[in-house]
């Protein structure tokens, strides 16, 4: 089945190769110990490349003063190192930014596993190298086999030396080429004796222990095997890609089931070995059951560490949510064609197996044709988890309370013993144990049970006040009291722990819920920022800052009220986090010396910015659970910000659409309205121009009169358009002055003098109408528009009425005609843009007059309404407030 190349895998390989062009190539010179000549080999290879015309620079090479190596450095451009003052010591490391700026084709970076000096951008040199590769720079580097994460345990076992600087195995897989630098151990030892290998004074002893024939041979074997495995992989890849049929190894697929215990990491490392040896694909799963949902913070942290390690070692990891561990694991295994399940040997007392079958037992029974490997290991020495200190506050007091509780029990039983049988009095002590378990915790409860047995014996069992027992049957009572007490304390304590964990989780959920609720109601970016700020204070007790990428994508802008409260260094950290889509700053792997911790705000459309959290003081760090909470916080923030951005965009699009619609309507309406008068004017003028005396003087007069009326109409239209655009642009500025409304009505009538032509106009301004604080010219224009409408839409013989009245805090002006009125369906729309009431055989309006009136009246803080008059006709009412 696996003899044919999998098309998906082929595709993956093709896509993997294409982008790699842009990425730099990594070549690792792999050795099994210091002094085998890795640096020498690397420099030799580099010189060859330089001779071929490649732009090579030395980023960081440590020759340890070896003459033969120094010689090779001659003629290669060496970049100056970056030095940093740290606690009075000058430390030097590769100048990463220098190399990036210099942008050579190939950079030489010695000792891949090196830990950078504090204050450099990355804590580990391997991160520097990855950044160089990302920047498209090829890198040659050196590595000793014992620095590989998965071999760490084995090396420790073989050599007794714990190597602290480890690298994930994936770095070896990521390397495009590996060159094994080999030297027989005898020769290496010879070189060591000759002093050709640099050995620092303080490490002399350790190294002597290290450089033993047996150790070296073992390490050499590991290095050779690793290299061989790699060659094997490449061969297999090659054959598969070319579809060369061959003896494929049966595709082994391993599945590791891990628990949140410290043992998980060990299990994962062992599994990686197995997977390597079998050349198997491997998976790591954790099953989250209802019960395990309430992990203690340290357990959750441990689990995260285990899973991360698994990913680093090349496993595919997955967390499964299920009711039952065994079924979930088996189902997953069947779905993925897993051949072997690896589980840890349960580290628990054998007697417990009597009561409940362990997960491993269940697995073995349910696995069917899938093999199950059980791996034994004591918990990892290095990664010993901090003991979960339950109820850490003043534990001493709790034990005192336990003793008091037993004392009370003694008192109570002394009172009861005359009434009850002694075996029943025991119950009082059991009650004390239960109380201790519930309120004081596990330790005090155990103490209470022990003390209870002793006290019962001493004070109640004859002979009194001795530990001697006259009746042997009391031994059974003691045993029962002890066992029951212990079990109760155990069970109650566990229940309580669980309840505590649940409460903690609940609190976490409550805070997250309050955040997401606040974010949900936030209307815009500012609201969101406010929600984030207030919630961060309640959740973490510290300030958050949000930096969002602006349009050009490169620039990060601080948003929110603390603008400017971030210095350039922190800004650089934020920029790094943003550009690399990785957390950076405090408590991370990158620039950990920074004050703030920055998390990228990831959305489906990529990173939109970063969120930073500032500690209350330089000593305090976020706890692991707080960090997890902060990650969730960041992702909620990102979603909310993205939502706000999208809705803003949608709104903009809508506004643009509305504006376009308006413009279209405007164009349609205006082109018609503008042309009509022009037709009359042009017609009249050309008739007059071409007149050879045939036109009667009356006709000529009529033509001229018509042209003139049309020009006025055109002028009004242009005036309306200008007002409209001013209203639209919000540029309608009121120039208010104390004004007389009667005067305004008079001015309006004066302006319309020509058009009134003897129409009856009744003006009724009450004597008590006060002066109004208004823009006189604009109110005149409102009146002109309203009266003009009244003129247009009512018969010539009817009167137009204008009425002004004083009301409590406003004046009311009404313009009335006796025209056909407004159809009731049109009434709500007469103040809408370009809305025209369809009057048969009536003058067409532009649909702008009333809109402009409404705009002007509203700008004054007044209202305007339209209604139909009793007895027919239109009534327009507007009000103006007396006090602005």
């Amino acid at each position: 089945m696996s003899t044919r190349p999998d098309p998906d895998a082929l595709l993956a390989r093709v896509t993997a190769e294409t982008p790699e062009r842009k990425r730099g190539k990594l070549k690792i010179f792999l050795g099994y110990a210091a002094g085998v000549g890795k640096t020498y080999a690397m420099l030799g290879a580099a010189r060859q490349r330089k001779a071929q015309g490649v732009d090579v620079i030395v980023g960081y090479v440590e020759t340890h003063g070896r003459a033969e190596t120094d010689v090779l450095l001659n003629g290669l451009e060496t970049l100056p190192r970056k030095t940093i003052e740290y606690r009075g010591v000058t430390l030097s490391d590769m100048d990463l930014d220098g190399v990036l700026a210099r942008k050579p084709q190939l950079a030489l970076v010695d000792e891949l596993a090196h830990t950078n000096a504090e204050g450099m951008r990355h804590p580990k040199r391997v991160q520097d190298v990855l950044e160089l590769l990302d920047a498209g720079i090829d890198v040659y580097t050196t590595l000793n086999i014992q620095h590989l994460e998965s071999l760490n345990d084995v090396v420790a076992q073989i050599t007794g030396v714990i190597v602290r600087e480890t690298l994930p195995d994936s770095i070896l897989d990521a390397a495009d080429e590996i060159e094994l630098v080999d030297l027989p151990p005898d020769e290496l030892l010879q070189r060591l004796r000759e002093g050709k290998i640099y050995v620092p004074e303080q490490a002399q002893r350790a190294l002597q222990k290290f450089f033993r024939q047996g150790n070296l041979t073992a390490l050499r074997e590991m290095a050779l095997r690793r290299a061989a495995m790699r060659v094997d992989d490449q061969m297999r890849d090659y054959m598969q890609m070319r579809a060369i049929p061959g003896p494929w190894a049966a595709a082994e697929r391993l599945l590791v089931a891990v628990s949140p215990s410290a043992f998980g990491e060990k299990l994962v490392r062992r599994a990686r070995h197995l997977a390597d040896e079998l050349n198997a694909q491997w998976f790591v799963v954790y099953v989250e059951t209802q019960e395990k949902l309430k992990l203690s913070p340290s357990q959750a942290d441990q689990l995260a560490r285990t899973m991360r390690l698994a990913e680093e070692l090349g496993a595919q990891t997955q967390t499964l949510a299920a009711d039952q561990v065994t079924t979930a694991v088996i189902e997953f295994a069947r779905a993925r064609n897993i051949t072997t399940i690896i589980a840890g040997k349960p580290a628990r007392p054998r007697w417990l197996a009597f009561f409940r079958e362990s997960v491993v037992d269940e697995l073995i029974r349910a696995s069917g044709d899938i093999s199950v490997y059980i791996i034994h290991a004591e918990p990892d020495r290095r990664a010993k988890p901090a003991r979960v200190e339950w109820m850490p506050r003043r534990p001493f007091l709790r034990y005192v309370m336990a003793v008091i509780l037993v004392g009370l029990a003694i008192g109570a039983s002394a009172l009861l013993s005359p009434i009850l049988h002694l075996t029943n009095v025991v119950m009082v002590f059991l009650l004390a144990v239960v109380l201790a378990a519930v309120y004081l915790g596990r330790g005090p409860a155990v103490v209470t049970s022990l003390l209870s047995v002793l006290a019962f014996d001493f004070f109640l069992v004859p002979p009194l006040l001795t530990f001697a027992v006259s009746d042997t049957q009391y031994i059974l009572t003691f045993a029962a009291l002890l066992v029951v007490g212990l079990v109760i304390s155990q069970l109650t304590a566990r229940m309580r722990e669980r309840a505590d964990a649940a409460r903690e989780r609940e609190q976490e959920n409550a805070t997250l819920y309050s955040l997401s609720r606040d974010l949900a109601v936030a209307a815009d970016v500012n609201d969101i920022l406010r929600a984030l700020e207030t919630n961060a204070v309640t959740m973490f007790g510290r300030q958050v800052m949000v930096l969002l990428a602006n349009g050009s994508r490169k620039q990060l802008e601080l948003v929110g009220k603390q603008a400017g409260a971030i210095d350039d260094n922190e800004r650089a950290v934020a920029a790094w986090a943003y550009e690399h889509n990785q957390p950076a700053g405090r408590d991370t792997d990158t620039l950990p010396a920074a004050q703030m911790r920055f998390i990228p705000l990831r959305t489906v459309n990529g990173v939109i910015g970063v969120i930073g959290v500032a500690p209350s003081d330089s000593k305090s760090h976020l706890s692991p659970s707080q960090r997890r909470l902060f990650d969730t916080f960041a992702s909620l923030a990102a979603t909310a910000l993205e939502r706000a951005r999208l809705s803003e965009e949608a709104q903009q699009a809508q506004t643009i659409k509305a504006t376009e619609d308006l413009q279209n309507a405007l164009l349609n309406s205006i082109s018609h309205d503008l042309r009509t008068p022009l037709v009359s004017i042009t017609g009249a003028l050309s008739s007059l121009q071409e007149d050879d005396g045939t036109l009667s003087s009356a006709t000529r007069q009529a033509l001229i009169e018509n042209a003139r009326e049309e020009t006025e109409r055109l002028n009004r239209l242009v005036g309306n358009l200008l007002d409209m655009s001013r209203l639209e642009a919000g540029a309608m500025r009121l120039v208010r002055e104390t004004s007389d409304i009667q005067d305004a009505i008079g001015s309006a009538l004066e302006q319309l003098d020509r058009r009134l032509q003897g129409r009856q106009v009744k003006v009724d301004v009450a004597d008590d109408v006060p002066l109004v604080w208004m823009d006189f010219s604009l109110i005149v224009q409102v009146l002109v528009n309203l009266i003009d409408n009244a003129l247009k839409y009512s018969p010539r013989y009817t009167a137009i009425e204008i009425r002004a009245r004083a009301q409590s805090n406003q004046i009311q002006v009404q313009v009335m005609d006796r025209g056909p009125g407004i159809p009731s369906k049109d009434l709500p729309h007469v103040f809408d843009k370009f809305y025209r009431v369809q009057h048969p055989d009536m003058v067409r309006g532009t649909g702008m007059g009333l809109v402009i009136c409404k705009g002007i009246i509203q700008a004054h803080g007044g209202t305007i309404t339209a209604e139909n008059r009793l007895g027919g006709g239109t009534l327009i009412t507007f009000t103006l407030p007396l006090k602005a």
Partner: protein, 231 residues
């Protein structure tokens, strides 16, 4: 009157089309027309040609019409009629306060332009104010401090009388609110707009046949008032 016919008019406008239109119309009505397209040119033409009236556009490319008005007013009392667009109230007021005599809002009819020019020319020709003013039914005799409508005396308060006198003395000319307040109440009352409004309103009730549609005292919206002397 010969002062009207054959008078010399300086037209200042940067639009060639408007200059051409004005030249055509004014020449046809017997005026001698000079033209200027820029403010500085206008100023030099005023001193060189000594026109009887200046028709001045407010929007000029080099200096605005208000500035031209100020410069001209430093040494010449030649009447100035401003051409402006609707909405430019602030500019109009500035020009009138700077000493311009009248304004016309574009677009304007030829009849209106000629009427304004006649008023301006008459004002320019007049050296002292006439003690007796008569327009239609309104008569004001400043020697006797009497105002009559159809020969019937109209009782006016001292303020109303001063207000009417200010309008009559510059009959036909637009007087800004500012100018009226200064003329009637004196310096320091520039902001007391309501006093002006109330007195205008009362004055109208006494002399206008229909106070709702004033005939004699015309409101220039946003600018001021004018006493009508041409129907």
């Amino acid at each position: 009157m010969n002062t009207s016919k054959g008078a010399r008019i300086l037209v200042v406008d940067d639009e060639p089309a408007i200059r051409r239109f004005l030249r055509t119309v004014l020449t046809a009505h017997g005026y001698t027309v000079f033209e200027a397209a820029r403010g500085d040119d206008a100023v030099s033409q005023v001193s060189a040609q000594r026109p009887d009236v200046i028709v001045l556009d407010l929007g000029l490319p080099d200096m605005d019409g208000v500035q031209v008005t100020r410069v001209v007013r430093e040494w010449s009392q030649t009447p100035i009629v401003i051409l402006s667009v609707r909405g430019g109230e602030a500019d109009k007021i500035a020009a009138l306060d700077a000493g311009a005599d009248d304004y016309l809002t574009k677009p304007f009819g030829t009849g209106e332009l000629l009427a304004r020019l006649r008023v301006a020319l008459r004002r320019g020709a007049r050296t002292t104010s006439e003690p007796i003013f008569v327009f239609e039914r309104l008569r004001m005799d400043q020697t006797k401090r009497v105002v009559t409508i159809d020969g019937k005396p109209v009782p006016l308060t001292p303020t109303e009388y001063d207000l009417l006198r200010a309008l009559v003395n510059d009959a036909g000319k637009v007087l800004t609110h500012h100018q009226l307040l200064r003329a009637v109440w004196g310096v320091g009352y520039d902001q007391e707009m309501h006093m002006l409004r109330v007195n205008i309103s009362n004055l109208r009730k006494k002399i206008e046949p229909d106070a709702a549609r004033p005939h004699y005292i015309v409101t220039e919206p946003g600018v001021g008032y004018r006493l009508r002397i041409i129907e």
